[in-house]
């Protein structure tokens, strides 16, 4: 079983990202479950959401504590959040929306999702919508689900131009995500 934890802020589509990933896995005939922690969150507040992927039915319903992958949707959380890296194992990996290189204790992959979203015009109420962009990067790093399944899930979730732009964005992110090598 793979366990993924998403970190972002209210209004960035963190829950949608987690749900889309679960949906795409379902389309690839995998078992999946996705859920957020609900509270009194509002726009800008720290949000986390979870996704589990397995080739057999998933029984656990509690939050992900020891993630295999952490996805950082909002780069500012890298600086200020105490929650992002909790419970990380030595084998855990980080996929972050970040413009430069990150030097962390774990294998780390970065993608400048803000830039991709802005350039494509994926902007809502002044914020670049990077949630789906990040999935393009994550799917490349994990190797599952297929990019095709992800694009199908996007078509089901969104309509018209938004669906089109998000599908384009995941392709760009899929290609451009890069591993940050830590010098020994």
């Amino acid at each position: 079983m793979l366990e993924i934890r998403f970190h972002g802020r209210g209004g960035q589509g963190v829950v949608t990202a987690s749900n889309l990933l679960a949906e795409a896995c379902g389309l690839d005939n995998l078992y999946s479950s996705a859920f957020p922690i609900y509270g009194a969150e509002r726009r800008g507040a720290e949000i986390e959401a979870y996704c589990r992927i397995s080739d057999s039915p998933i029984r656990v319903t509690s939050p992900v504590e020891e993630p295999d992958y952490v996805v950082v949707i909002d780069p500012s959380l890298l600086r200020i959040s105490k929650a992002v890296f909790r419970g990380m194992k030595t084998t855990s990996k980080v996929v972050a929306n970040y413009s430069g290189e990150l030097q962390l204790k774990w294998r780390t992959f970065t993608i400048n999702a803000n830039k991709i979203a802005t350039e494509l015009g994926l902007v809502k109420s002044g914020w670049p919508m990077v949630n789906v962009v990040m999935l393009g990067a994550l799917v490349r790093v994990m190797g599952i689900p297929s990019l095709e399944a992800l694009k199908r899930a996007i078509e089901e979730e969104f309509e018209g131009r938004v669906a089109e732009l998000n599908a384009k964005a995941v392709e760009v992110a899929y290609k451009e995500v890069k591993e940050n090598y830590v010098l020994a």
């Binding site: 679960a22 479950s33 319903t61």
Partner: protein
């Protein structure tokens, strides 16, 4: 009948239940929003808007009115549905008893949630178990698929002439209502056959009858006795409907309870609702370490599966019941039910009160308590708070 393979969808619990309700073709829905149920009724109103469901949607001013509206509607013949949670269920309580007492077949979903005060929007079972004496069949789902399955079966059970009773489908707020999971949905044509159109009316102008009239002491007692007999009959009807559903779907339904890894278990864990999934993980992990533990899942809370529970308890060295609701000065609500049916047995029964107001319960918390039970270190009552 051949097993009918349906579509596989990824749905959050509320949408899975809405999908099942749509397929059951109710003609009247009463809606009033309350977290964490709201998105279910929103989805149903969307189905009506898109023409996928032909039903009258009554927007009421309170939960009390929601239940009153479908009470009246159901008497005239149509299949009806509503959903609520927590404070909404409390506010609906008077009508809940009316509907139960009048033996009106209908289905209501309860997205279980803690009760104020203090205020909480998160999950536990206090709302659900508080309706145990209202003459409703009460079933509780373990996962999103289960919530879909139980919703479909609920209509069949409710309208069975041997039962004629409202059915409450409980599923854990947020933990199931807002979790997206893979769900296999049946083709519409199969559901049509499983739940045929409702053709009876309780109000018949050619044969007038009084509804809700006063009952003299003698008659009242007879009503209650008849309800008791119907509730006992419901046990075999529920099993029959489940067996039929299993045949159609190929998904194992087990019955009023399910015993998991029970056969040679010395120690038994008892639970109800979504955390049964986490309990399976805990039991499997302890089995891997050679501990002889098993799990008894309560799937039907009313009628309470007395015979099954008693049978499952026999010969165990210890039992621990996990409770998401508490009766003050007495004990965990599910524990009390279990203990009442262990009368005369020598098996010690412990209680763990946990997950109140949405407090996270992890497989390792369950594993810890169960392991303590096997080592004689578990208190009679432990609170994870």
């Amino acid at each position: 009948m051949l097993v009918q393979k349906g579509k596989v969808l990824a749905l959050v619990g509320n949408h899975a239940v809405a999908y099942a309700v749509k397929q059951a073709k109710p003609q009247v829905l009463a809606v009033f929003p309350i977290t964490p149920q709201t998105t279910m009724l929103e989805k149903l109103s969307e189905y009506i808007d898109k023409g996928e469901l032909r039903a009258e949607l009554i927007k009421v001013e309170s939960e009390h009115s929601a239940m009153a509206a479908i009470f009246g509607a159901a008497l005239a013949g149509p299949r009806v549905f509503t959903a609520t949670a927590s404070q909404g269920l409390l506010y609906m309580t008077e009508m809940i008893y009316w509907v139960g007492g009048q033996r009106v077949p209908l289905v209501a979903a309860v997205a279980t949630r803690a009760i104020a005060s203090p205020w909480s929007i998160w999950d536990d079972h206090q709302d659900f178990v508080s309706k145990r004496d209202a003459i409703w069949v009460q079933m509780m789902a373990e996962n999103v698929q289960d919530a879909y399955d139980i919703t479909l079966m609920a209509f069949r059970i409710s309208e069975d002439p041997r039962v004629m009773m409202p059915v409450m489908m409980g599923f854990d707020g947020f933990i199931l209502t807002h979790t997206m999971e893979r769900v296999e949905v049946l083709p519409d044509s199969v559901v049509d056959e499983f739940i045929p159109p409702r053709e009876f009316k309780l109000i018949d102008f050619d044969n007038p009858l009084g509804i809700g009239a006063v009952a003299t002491p003698d008659n009242y007692a007879k009503y209650r006795k008849k309800a008791m007999e119907a509730m006992e009959r419901a046990k075999s009807v529920i099993k029959e409907v489940m067996a039929n559903f299993e045949e159609i779907t190929g998904r194992k339904q087990y019955g009023l309870t399910e015993c998991y890894m029970c056969e040679d278990a010395d120690y038994l864990l008892v639970g109800m609702g979504a955390w049964v999934g986490d309990m399976r993980v805990a039991v499997s992990r302890l089995r891997e370490r050679g501990k002889k533990v098993g799990l008894l899942k309560i799937r039907v809370f009313r009628p309470f599966p007395r015979e099954e529970v008693r049978e499952a308890l026999k010969g165990r060295k210890g039992v621990v019941v996990f409770d998401r609701a508490y009766s003050f000065g007495s004990g965990g609500v599910l524990s009390l039910e279990v203990k009442a049916n262990a009368y005369g047995l020598t098996t010690p029964i412990h209680t763990v009160v946990a997950g109140l107001g949405g407090k996270d319960v992890r497989p390792r918390d369950i594993e810890g308590a169960l392991e303590d039970l096997t080592e004689g270190k578990l208190e009679e009552e432990r609170w994870l708070a």
